[in-house]
Symmetry: C2
Subunit: 354 residues, 2 copies
């Protein structure tokens, strides 16, 4: 049985409230005699007292816990994000409770439920994100919440993410400048903020360059590596395959790498590759992969700052922050001559421009 204030009070020969004051009320100076302080601390130490956070939380209506939900903690991007969030919050005196929704809306929903029931002081959510019904319900609560990475354009809620449209444009423009015109996009989970905005950037870049969009070159349905593997296989055996692939996430790129390797397709000689997300190992892949880097630490900092603001003062305006992505050029893109391209007939539907 864990030790309680009562046990200490008994041993020290004082009342429970005195014990409470000595042990936890460091802020308010309750002028307590040195002798009592000594006695109480001594007893607490001897008995190995640990405050019961449940009781305290119940009483104070405050848990000093922040709930964090991410779709896939084994994705290096989210692992890094969680680590950064934990670091930022720790210095502010908050612990985090992490849930991995495994890209499953049902798990996300039950995570949300658990965290609310646990009465966390706030929420940082990277939603699976095809549907914001549940998130909206939480938003309408007084529960402070900030969305990261996976947000909802249509939902008025505090959020911080990288400028995905810009990121995609950076990537695709770079490919175009290197002479590519048949550029495929292997997307993540359709309907999610990250995916739709990245897709949007891809289309916009092509459009700006006057390149018609070929719907056969847009494939994929989740952010996992197997998706990258499958869709790369598909793209490679197209009668008129792309000269470059842009993947919507680091795991997808890994799958693309695997497929190319299996098919003895060399990168960048036979096909070029650029990916969104820039994990630590990107430089050491074979070849080093050109990638769009997100400012993860900054995302975490902003998210925590915004959450903190909302916890302290829930009535200020909601904000949507977009941070700048960065293109890290490595060795996965080949420059190709524009004549070579033009000689390739577009045998997929040329009328499709979206």
């Amino acid at each position: 049985m864990p030790v309680t204030l009562k046990d200490i009070a008994k041993i020290a020969g004082v009342s429970v409230s005195t014990v409470s004051r000595v042990l936890h009320d460091n802020s308010k100076k309750y002028t307590i005699s040195d002798e009592t302080i000594l006695k109480v601390k001594e007893a607490a130490k001897n008995l190995g007292y640990r405050v019961n956070a449940l009781a305290r939380g119940l009483r104070q209506n405050k848990t000093c816990e922040i709930g964090v939900i991410v779709p896939d903690i084994s994705n290096p991007f989210f692992a890094e994000l969680v680590k950064s969030l934990a670091g930022e919050l720790r210095v502010k005196g908050y612990n985090i409770i992490v849930f991995d929704s495994d890209e499953d809306p049902l798990i996300e929903q039950s995570a949300l439920k658990s965290l609310i029931e646990k009465r966390v002081d706030g929420l940082v959510v990277a939603s699976v994100g095809q549907d914001f019904t549940q998130i909206k319900k939480v938003r309408d609560t007084e529960m402070p919440m900030v969305m990261v990475d996976r947000c909802f354009d249509e939902l008025d809620v505090d959020s911080v993410s990288v400028d995905n449209v810009l990121g995609s444009m950076l990537a695709v423009n770079y490919l175009i400048n290197e002479g590519h015109r048949r550029i495929a996009f292997i997307q993540g989970l359709p309907g999610t903020y990250a995916n739709e905005t990245r897709l949007q950037g891809y289309k916009k870049a092509l459009h700006n360059a006057g390149i018609p969009i070929d719907k056969h070159l847009i494939a994929g349905n989740d952010f996992r590596s197997f998706n990258g593997y499958l869709k790369t296989k598909y793209l490679l055996k197209l009668s008129n395959p792309p000269t470059a692939i842009f993947t919507a996430g680091d795991l997808i790129a890994l799958g693309a790498l695997e497929a190319c390797k299996e098919n003895n397709v060399r990168i960048p000689n036979d096909i070029s590759l650029v990916t969104f997300d820039d994990p630590d190992y990107a430089s050491y892949l074979s070849p080093a992969v050109t990638a769009i880097e997100q400012p993860i630490k900054k995302i975490a900092q902003m998210a925590v700052a915004m959450l903190y603001d909302r916890i302290s003062d829930s009535r200020n305006e909601r904000r949507k922050i977009l941070l700048e992505p960065k293109l890290n050029i490595r060795n996965s893109v080949a420059r190709i001559s524009s004549t070579a391209i033009k000689s390739q007939p577009a045998n997929t539907d040329p009328n499709n421009t979206r």
Copy 2:
């Protein structure tokens, strides 16, 4: 203000205990009139009732939460481990609270403190692990605890990890079979279980092959990539450099890769590389890295099973489980002729055999 049972009771015109029974006491069949059940459920739904897990936990002395502490969640090994643990525990009805100790014993200690105060039902700890004073204190509590990956040989506590000695021997024996005799070991954090056992395996393999241990070839002081980078630089500029490097962890290997790249040292042509840990991306590195794979999912399964056993019946014997590692041979090791080796004079202290 969150809705409570009282609020529902008032609206439904029944007592608090009735509400509680209707909403939460699914197990015991308390024969309650259908009409009451309907009224209560209706009111609960309308008001948006959420149980207060703090109050419930306080009352029931049970939180359905498991605390998890890992040294570095951005390390793919631990990210994967956390994900597996979460999955295993979720189906058993437990949530997890994750702490990243950032390889800092002080943070680990405060994480331990927080989790105990939160009255989690159990603990899964991958300790930073140079010192088990704090862990021992917890062990002597009635708090169920299982250690994973980073254990303590000298401490009698439930634990599950890979057979590190065997893993290292697998790696080093392989290098020896490929003709290597000057094999360096870049270690992780000295004094930790994972490191010492891996070092032990390294030494044992060399010893078995009759190769004297050259202390200049053992370097390194933590599991981060920068350590791998620095120590590889150091090893490369030795007057008699190693022909192969064995790294104690995946991040270290990444650093080694970076250093080699910077120095224009080709792997495996100029130097061979094998690493402990086998992250998903290992196959796609340049070159694909030969690695020792740990059965992460199995570690998580075993850990959860053991923890569950201890929660249900705290008085059974403590167990230490070792799981089998696996050598995944890829392209980072070159076969070298033994004559080439023997022609290299050992100009580092030849008398040092440990």
